[in-house]
Homo-oligomer: 238 residues x 2
């Protein structure tokens, strides 16, 4: 698969997730960027790069990489304070990428997406994530509700973000220990079986005339909230 754009290629090169970078193409100009020092770059024209990646949004650079290395879902909840985000049928790759960027910035343990009716980690999602797909553990599961049941058996508490009146304000729980936060697709919210698999539904305050946040901004509000509620709002030493 061909990833494109400055951040995605850079993150593939420096990523820790063993994406295999096979070839890199760049325009004359892009090829001289300092972060490409030591990388075997093949110089190509703008049109050739657009042909290679199938998008005009390449910023003069693209790379052939191996298939996306999905994580093992069973490994995301190992830490006793693991925090995992699960997405219920988010189908837009831009939204998936934007959520990945937020989740990675917030330092979560990983992201779980269903195998069906969900955007996958495509180059477009990688571009929208600003390269964060290379750093976040992302796992696919056959059935999200079943996986949530497994997560509960592994000691996790499962929170579902919902707009329903029976949901508690999101700043009520303390989110300690292993936690999974499930976010639904824009507009439709959580599927009933997924909502039923949650221990607790939580909701953000709605204070405007326009109904809802999109999934990435909702993720930002909830995840940074959880870091604060956990007393975890400190920078991570890297």
């Amino acid at each position: 698969m061909v990833v494109y754009g400055r951040n995605p290629v850079r993150e593939a090169l420096r990523g820790r997730r063993q994406t295999q970078v096979e070839r890199v193409w760049a325009t004359e100009r892009a090829s001289s960027e300092p972060w490409l020092a030591g990388v075997a770059v093949e110089v190509a024209g703008v049109d050739a790069i657009e042909d290679l990646c199938g998008s005009g949004d390449h910023q003069g650079i693209c790379a052939e990489v191996g298939g996306y290395p999905y994580a093992d879902p069973g490994r995301l909840l190992i830490d006793d304070d693991a925090l995992v985000v699960a997405l219920d049928e988010v189908q837009d790759p831009q939204n998936l990428g934007a959520v990945v960027r937020v989740a990675e910035s917030a330092g979560v343990s990983g992201l779980v997406i269903p195998e069906r009716r969900s955007a996958e980690v495509t180059p477009a999602a990688g571009k929208a994530s600003a390269g964060a797909v290379e750093h976040l553990a992302i796992a696919r599961v056959g059935n999200l509700a079943n996986w949530l049941a497994t997560a509960k058996e592994a000691g996790a508490w499962v929170y579902g973000a919902a707009a329903e009146p029976e949901a508690v304000p999101y700043d009520t729980p303390d989110y300690s220990g292993r936690a999974v936060i499930v976010l639904g697709s824009e507009g439709r919210g959580l599927r009933p079986r997924v909502a039923a698999a949650c221990d607790q539904l939580v909701r953000l305050p709605q204070r405007g005339e326009v109904s809802s946040l999109n999934v990435a901004t909702a993720a930002a509000a909830v995840l940074y909230g959880i870091l604060h509620f956990r007393g975890d709002g400190v920078d991570r030493a890297t």
Copy 2:
């Protein structure tokens, strides 16, 4: 000016901000949507609608409206718990629209943007805001640093979101009373004169490998945080 897409047209029709809706065009199919009952809709083909609005992203509907009714910046800080967002040179209309959607959902008092080197409230920004531009008071000011000084004279405390180490964790202040939160453009942060005009710089925890949130997700994290710190996280009765 011609706004387009389902949400922007609907919000222009039901908006409280006195945007004058002059004409509405829709495809046969879109014209039968229930929320258009009682509206004088002119039926037009897809190509004609695309010509009218200059975008293919119109969902079968567009409307001719008056110029965007910017708010008076002096009126945004009247309430003694007013919360205003100021954007320092955010130039991408998609980002401006996304911030407007977040700010409106969080129920802030208004948004301030500079007249120069900033995206304006264009139809593209309106589309990205899901129509929230029709409900949020947005004001333009000649010089943002000077306006922040005026806001301080009016009793507001001015917080600047920054990544600098000297910034305090964003969950330290209590954000009570009149408050302005200034967000910078992606990548560049706040200009020095704008940062210097703030009473306090605040920063979100950075816990990932990829450096930063985009301005809309940063706005969501900070604004929903402020609602919580203020004890304001309740739905507003409308």
